[in-house]
């Protein structure tokens, strides 16, 4: 039987605000346990939440960047359940009236654009952390993370392959980081993803029974977990079994998903409007102000790079994957006016060096100015491409300007016609036999003469000039 896979994703992104969503405690990661807490986020009696304006602004940014319709009025609801990492016994979230709905993200699937719908984006608070004791039947609670702002981004069940899901996640991640509203760190949990996946016979309209996958903390694991889960579901169906609707945890070490024996009976969260918080009204003026502040988004930048710089889509993709890299590239182009050369040097040598050291473009020892200078030196013939390969490596190691590296190494190209002419004349004079053969029709010997010139000049001769002069002088 041929199956089709249906995948929908729920992404939780921690917002990069200074303070928590409903109190003024710091959101910084890594403080001493329970040090970033106050009566509000500890859920002490009598205290009240007050919404951080920046949380709304960041959420609106994401909504705009993903083509959502922003609701004029949205409000908060309480999701009630007991757990030690949830000090109030309820999570403040949005339910009936989310911030934004009906958005989409564009993916490139086999060279064609595919729209992945976003059901909604809403704001909520994060829970704390629970650590289980390995030896005793107890757990430890750290409430530093309690109240850190999150946005939840819920997709439509629009993805059909694990690769699409992974690609969608990367696009969302890229947008969040571009907007500078989330640091995107999957290991520390600032970008988390749950997946709903089901299969159905090709051609069938109705969805199959889905499972929810959790605990995948990298793009790769999302893809692996989905691939495993699809195979598992297919196996069951092909053997006459039925899929159970349940939550399954990805086990990275074993490479399998395991049923999370439901801790409790079916959830009954008893959502109702939070009476301690008032509606958030987002008027056009506010939206437009935020829209004006939006940076150029990855997709738009990519298209612009292809059109304006005439570089391949692939190159544009690499260069725009990181906003800082794109900025670096554009600086180089602005200064050297050679988009293709700039793209080759950035994608080739610079990225290679950085990747080797796992370094970020923001800390690249070669400044955009220096790289542009080097490219200009190649183009005006001061150095050859071959020389540049050596120079750029030195620039990376020392952080020096190309001119300094060249001066130190004495690597200036010989471009003086007179001087080069003299060298060529000497070679002609010393090679009477070859001249004879060449003039007699052995064109191949041209290469011999080029080699002789390069040898004599230790490779510093400008190749084009060598060609030109040799042709003229060999002709006699």
């Amino acid at each position: 039987m041929d199956f089709e896979t249906v995948i929908g994703l729920e992404v939780h992104a921690q917002l990069l605000t200074e303070t928590k969503i409903f109190c003024s405690c710091s959101t910084k990661f890594g403080g001493a346990p329970n040090s970033h807490t106050c009566p509000v986020c500890l859920g002490m009696p009598g205290v009240l939440p007050v919404l951080n304006r920046k949380v709304v602004e960041y959420a609106i940014k994401m909504a705009l960047a993903t083509n959502c319709r922003i609701n004029k009025s949205c409000s908060y609801a309480r999701k009630n359940y007991f757990y030690p990492d949830l000090p109030k016994g309820y999570q403040i979230s949005q339910y009936a009236y989310p911030l934004a709905e009906h958005g989409y993200v564009l993916l490139d699937v086999d060279g064609e654009q595919k729209k992945i719908g976003l059901t909604r984006i809403h704001m909520e608070e994060d829970a704390g952390k629970l650590m289980h004791d390995e030896h005793n039947p107890v757990s430890y609670v750290d409430l530093n993370r309690t109240g850190v702002p999150l946005i939840e981004i819920v997709s439509e069940p629009d993805m059909r392959t694990p690769a699409e899901a992974s690609d969608y996640l990367k696009r969302l991640h890229e947008i969040l980081v571009y907007l500078e509203i989330c640091d995107g760190n999957m290991e520390e949990g600032s970008f988390r993803c749950d997946a709903n996946v089901s299969i159905r016979p090709k051609g069938q309209k109705e969805f199959g029974t889905r499972t929810e996958l959790k605990n995948m903390n990298s793009f790769r694991n999302v893809q692996r977990a989905l691939e495993y889960e699809i195979k598992r579901q297919q196996y069951i169906v092909e053997h006459g079994g039925a899929i159970v609707q349940e939550t399954r945890l990805w086990d990275d070490a074993q490479g399998v998903t395991n049923s999370m024996r439901s801790k409790e009976e079916a959830h009954d969260y008893r959502y109702f409007p939070d009476p301690d918080l008032v509606p958030v009204i987002v008027d056009d003026e506010w939206v437009e102000k935020i829209r004006r502040e939006l940076p150029e988004l990855p997709l738009v930048k990519r298209e612009r790079f292809v059109n304006d710089y005439q570089i391949p889509a692939y190159d544009a993709g690499v260069l725009t994957a990181d906003k800082a890299l794109a900025h670096y590239y554009e600086e180089v182009v602005r200064l050297c006016l050679s988009p293709k050369a700039a793209s080759n040097w950035v994608m080739g040598d610079v990225l290679k060096f950085l990747n080797e050291e796992k370094r970020d473009i923001r800390n690249c020892p070669i400044t955009a100015v220096a790289l542009a200078e080097m490219i200009k030196l190649i183009e005006d013939g001061t150095i050859s491409g071959k020389m540049a390969k050596e120079i750029v490596e030195d620039m990376y190691k020392t952080g020096k300007a190309p001119q300094d590296v060249i001066a130190e190494k004495g690597m200036v190209q010989i471009t003086d016609e007179g001087a080069l002419g003299a060298v060529i004349q000497k070679i002609i004079d010393a090679s009477p036999n070859q001249i004879k053969d060449y003039r007699g029709g052995k064109d191949k010997l041209f290469g011999f003469f080029v080699g002789q010139v390069m040898k004599a000049t230790q490779g510093k001769a400008n190749p084009q000039l060598v060609n030109e002069l040799l042709k003229k002088m060999l002709a006699g």
Partner: protein, 485 residues
């Protein structure tokens, strides 16, 4: 008259002209407490040392001529407002040892105004009750008849004022918890507009209904207290940024030409005839002062109680989820695992009435029932508010009895929750509509029990309530009867 029997404004005069010191006033209050507290049980906790120190500081301020609106005035706080460093129990076993690291906003406002805190007043557990019988720390007794309830849930705050165990006090009102005990104890009690007085630090019962307000010996004192309590608080999202007038200016103005709405739905069968007679007498008095009484209708009145007994428990079921034995308060010993710990802690920590309301609220919000209960109630709540909006277009204030009956006997209704709930019949609508109300004494039954009536006005019209209540009080010439203890 002893100092502890005087009003705020009377004491202020004496402080200003140097006739008495804050120390003397505080001493007189604690002497009274020594005498009657065992029989009345107004307090869960007394703060004598703190109060004497605060009085000493007040006397230093007075010497320097730095006299604020409540300098040296002994005030009792319902044990539902958080006091930094002082155990705050909310009348519950589950919080018997909770020491808040913060003050409620009203505590800071009172303290900044120079008030001296006498103690934490007794209350129904988590403010759930109309009689102060559900307190984990034992009931409070009505000073007018110690076999009767003082009303609730702010019973201790009401009796502390009525028995002269303080000069004024703070209570909270979710469905009548200030006005009802004020009426049953013969004192003045005001529930301000929702959003007028900060709820920050008020342990939540039903967040969309709760409001803090004062108990005082007369209406002018109520105005003085409101001057201190009212105002915007950035720590509360539902706090309102509206100008606060000097309420004291409105005490003493006449009410000529005012229209007073008398809602027919509040004069019904089952209302105690002595209560009805007292209110009718008051109506006649107000008319004599130039006010015109008109009949109005609040057609959805009969649904108020049902709406309230969905919304309040629903919100409470969520508000009380934080009492789980993890961060503070009681934790049951010898639990097998987390679930067992939760259940044992909450079962041991909450009394029956609290459990009952958590159950109703949880049920009303649970899967499949939300629309039938919570949503339906919220829709009817909109109709109830609309009733008041319409009625208040036709009149300046509305007048009703505060309670259908005078104080009932201790234990009389404890086994019949619904009967108990019915004693809030006249006060609940105010909270649902978010409007302010004031209860003022308007006489006594033949048996010597106090009777109260309430004035209601539109949002933020506390000034009108002060004006009409003080006008009534002045001309009614209420005998200065005091409970015999």
């Amino acid at each position: 008259m002893e100092l502890n029997q005087l009003t705020i404004h009377e004491l202020q005069e004496k402080i200003k002209n140097g006739a008495v010191s804050a120390g003397q006033i505080t001493e007189s209050v604690f002497q009274r407490i020594d005498k009657v507290e065992k029989r009345v049980h107004s307090y869960i906790r007394l703060l004598k040392d703190e109060a004497l120190a605060a009085a000493e500081k007040a006397d230093n301020d007075i010497k320097k001529g730095n006299i604020k609106p409540l300098t040296g005035i002994p005030v009792a706080l319902k044990d539902i407002v958080c006091t930094k460093g002082i155990t705050t129990t909310c009348g519950s076993h589950i919080l018997h040892n909770f020491v808040p690291p913060y003050n409620a906003t009203v505590v800071e406002r009172l303290s900044d105004a120079g008030a001296v805190f006498v103690g934490k007043a007794n209350m129904d557990e988590f403010a759930m009750g109309s009689s102060t019988e559900t307190s984990y720390f034992g009931p409070t007794y009505n000073p007018w008849d110690l076999t009767r309830i003082p009303g609730g849930s702010s019973g201790g705050s009401a009796t502390a004022v009525a028995a002269d165990e303080c000069i004024a006090s703070i209570g909270s009102d979710t469905g009548g918890s200030i006005r009802q005990p004020a009426a049953l104890c013969g004192v003045v009690g005001m529930k301000p507009t929702y959003g007028r007085v900060s709820r920050f630090g008020l342990i939540a019962f039903a967040s969309s209904l709760d409001q803090i307000g004062p108990f005082t010996k007369d209406v002018e004192d109520c105005a003085i207290m409101m001057n201190v309590l009212a105002g915007y608080d950035p720590r509360e999202s539902t706090s309102v940024q509206a100008a606060v007038p000097d309420y004291r200016q409105f005490a003493g103005r006449d009410i000529k030409g005012w229209k007073i709405g008398i809602p027919r739905e509040y004069f019904i069968e089952g209302i105690n005839p002595e209560v009805e007679a007292a209110v009718k007498k008051a109506i006649a008095l107000l008319e004599k002062q130039g006010a015109e009484c008109i009949n109005i209708s609040l057609p959805h009145t009969e649904y108020c109680l049902a709406v309230y007994y969905i919304i309040a428990p629903a919100e409470a079921s969520s508000n009380l989820a934080r009492f789980d034995g993890v961060k503070y308060g009681l934790r049951a010993a010898a639990a097998r695992d987390l679930l067992d710990m939760y259940k044992k802690t909450r079962t041991q920590g909450f009394g029956n009435e609290v459990k009952r309301r958590i159950m109703i609220g949880t049920y009303a919000l649970s899967a499949g029932y939300y629309d039938a209960y919570y949503k339906k109630a919220s829709q009817v709540r909109a109709l109830i508010k609309r009733d008041f909006d319409e009625a208040l277009k036709k009149c300046d204030v509305i007048l009703t009895p505060t309670t259908p009956t005078p104080a009932f006997k201790i234990g009389e209704k404890t086994d019949n929750p619904l009967q108990m709930y019915l004693s809030d019949l006249f006060t609940i609508s105010t909270n649902l509509a978010g409007i302010p109300g004031i209860s003022v004494p308007c006489g006594f039954t033949a048996g010597g029990l106090p009777i109260g009536m309430q004035f209601l006005a539109g949002h933020f019209a506390e000034d009108k309530l002060i004006q009409i209540a003080s006008a009534y009080e002045r001309t009614a010439g209420m005998e200065k009867r005091r409970p015999q203890l």
